[in-house]
């Protein structure tokens, strides 16, 4: 089962350490503009700090437009075949997340290769905004949050060892049959 690099924007502080480590690891230079992950910040409306990185789509939009078939999904990573890439950048425009980057120093587009399965950015993220989780676990947190914030729940107060607590519950319907 492959693992996915997942972004939790609510936990991102916008520090850009991910950009730094990505560029130093892949290009051996201190240049956040050479990273395959970038943080986009908007403020004050809306307030978002969003790390943007390749989702390794199984049906990649980038691959679909590639005229030389240089992009292919294999073992959880959309890989770029450097030999056949013509640097037309159709992939950069096609990616629905804008997660493929360009830098003037290089002809090839810059895209996440998952660092061979153990992404450096995940290891160095100081706030836990970047995570590597099994594919099957995707959406778990959202599902749970969604259930917990379900607005139709009822609640009662009760006391446990003298401390006031609240229990919330979704009551079964009592419509007439």
């Amino acid at each position: 089962m492959s693992r996915k690099l997942t972004v939790i924007p609510e936990q991102c502080s916008g520090c850009r350490i991910c950009e730094l480590v990505c560029a130093t690891r892949h290009f051996g230079v201190n240049n956040p503009k050479k990273a395959a992950i970038r943080i986009l910040t908007t403020y004050p409306q809306p307030v978002v700090r969003m790390p943007i990185v390749c989702s390794q789509c199984k049906v990649p939009a980038c691959a679909q437009v590639c005229p030389t078939d240089s992009l292919r999904w294999l073992d959880g990573v959309v890989r770029l075949d450097k030999e056949y890439c013509t640097s037309c950048y159709k992939c950069v425009e096609a990616c629905p997340f804008g997660a493929i980057y360009i830098h003037e120093d290089y002809d090839l587009p810059i895209k996440c290769d998952m660092c061979g399965g153990d992404p450096e950015c995940v290891r160095k993220c100081p706030t836990g905004a970047l995570r590597l989780i099994p594919e099957a676990a995707l959406g778990e947190a959202r599902r749970l949050n969604n259930v917990l914030s379900y607005t139709q729940m009822k609640e009662i107060e009760f006391f446990e060892k003298g401390e006031k607590k609240v229990i919330r519950y979704a009551e079964v319907g009592k419509e007439e049959l």
Binding site: E10, Q11, C12, S13, G14, C15, R16, I17, L20, V21, T24, G28, V29, N30, N31, P32, K33, K34, L40, T41, T42, Y43, P44, Q45, V47, R49, H103, E104, D105, K124, P126, T127
Partner: protein
Amino acid sequence: MSVKSGYFRRHLHVDLSKGVAERRTLEEAFLEKYIGGRGFGAKLVWDNLRRLGFTIDPLGPENILVVAAGPLTGTYLPSSGKNSFVSISPATGLYGDSSMGGGFGTELRQTGIDVLSIEGKAPQLSVLFIDNGETTILPMPELQGRNCLEAEGLIKQRLGTHAVHIATIGLGGENMVRFACVNADWSRNAGRAGMGAIMGAKNLKAIVVRGHADLPVYDLPGLIAEADQAFKYMQEHKYFKLWQQQGLMNVIDYANEKGILPAYNFKDSVFARHDQINATTMVDQYKIGDSACFGCPMCCGNICLVKSGKYAGTVVEGPEYETCAMLGSNLGLDNFAAILSATRLCDELGVDTISTGNIVAATIEGYEKGIVSLSDLDGEEIAWGDEDAILGLIQKIASREGVGDILADGSRRIIQEWPEMDKVILQVKGLEQSAYDSRPSISMGLAYATSDIGAHHTRAWTVAKEMEEGQNWTDDEKVDIVIYHQTVRPLFDMLGVCRLPWIELGLSEQHYANFYKYVTGNEVPLDDLLGLSNDIYDLTRLINCRLGMNHKDDRLPYKVWANPPLTGPNAGRVIDQEDFRKLLSLYRKRRGWDENGVPPAQVAEKFSD
């Protein structure tokens, strides 16, 4: 050893009057001696003053504004996102600088320059756009009157990109409020010493940078190994999570407990309702996200949102301790939502929250005491904790309406206008005091009195240490710690990094000497780096002396020696004037300055190059 890397060796000088930009090469000796940031700024300001014969109007076209990052800015190490704004301050008429975090400094360096200096005055309101190797001055009179956040949005729209970093001024800067700040990335400010007014005087609404260049590093693997150790050390520190969650707001409870939290214009040093404006209140009710400067794992910035009530919808990055104390307890304000609103207003208008908090507080006290009359206040009453009146007065200061026109000129003008206000407002050399009460800490009093930019805490922050372990310090020890801080702390501004990992999490100074070595290839012992930092302290002192600073300007604000705090652990305590004079005299002797605080002739020779 010599500097082998770490710099582009480029100085970009822009003359706004002539509309020209010139790229100059920086000599190796300059890089080695002045390092970067505040060091570059002090030297360029000094050279400009020598050219002018030390006669200068801070708001005249002849004054230069230096924007400089350091060799470590934007590099792979903790909290490397700082840069300095340096000039002659319109608040003090003397040397002034202020640093800012965020991503502006990194982007500035990525355009391929180490230092930017700006002189002259643009014929109309303009924006300086440094796009990699190209520099253009774009007239944008349509930005007039726009607040900092609006201006940033409009400039991005006009340039058709969001991938730029912008340092802008608001109404405060345009109107040359003498404590106007420069705001970048929406909410990071170079707050103190009136750097925003300098931009306003130059008709410069914003500096926009976009750069793609590699930042030169001599030994990147060495730097990464050293930095990874530092990152690990920080993340394992017992207070690391607290800093991520609360940032500087954790200081409110500490300052209140120790009796150094300003309340009611420093009438008191504890605030009864401090629990309504502390970190717990912020985290529980207002915080919606973290915010960090470039490369910083501590993310001390807090993004807050007011979710209900009169101020609902107010989003602000902050407040941090200084802002919360100066716009909160110091104004008798206990409604955290109102403090957030005032902070946001200051961000929008581009005025310094510390000076603004001081001046509004002094106005309230002046009115209470009858020094400032109701007609002086344009018939509008103001009182402690009066949210509407406080927000209204801040707006009037930035737009220079009515009494705001006097208050906007800072404490010097206020004292000229109402001489009795000298006893009310806390300032040194014309800069209003930061939010740490110095009455129980004479070393902090000395730090404020001898700080080169006026009563600011960044040069030496000795109050906590003296409160905790310094009650029996000898005079020598007190002077030592002030000089030690004044030597170490400015080094961070020269290197272009934040000092919080060092002061708050105890990251060792040696790490920084190592970072410097890996980035520049110049192997300099820590003590020598500190020596260079100390030289800059001498240089800024020299600048101040040549600009006519009086030896009496190393002073304590009136309240610090005459009015003790009313309650709390330090009730009744003041700094004794005679003790202070002795300490100051010892301090000058230890620095090698004469009785009047003037550095000897050989100091000037050091900077005659």
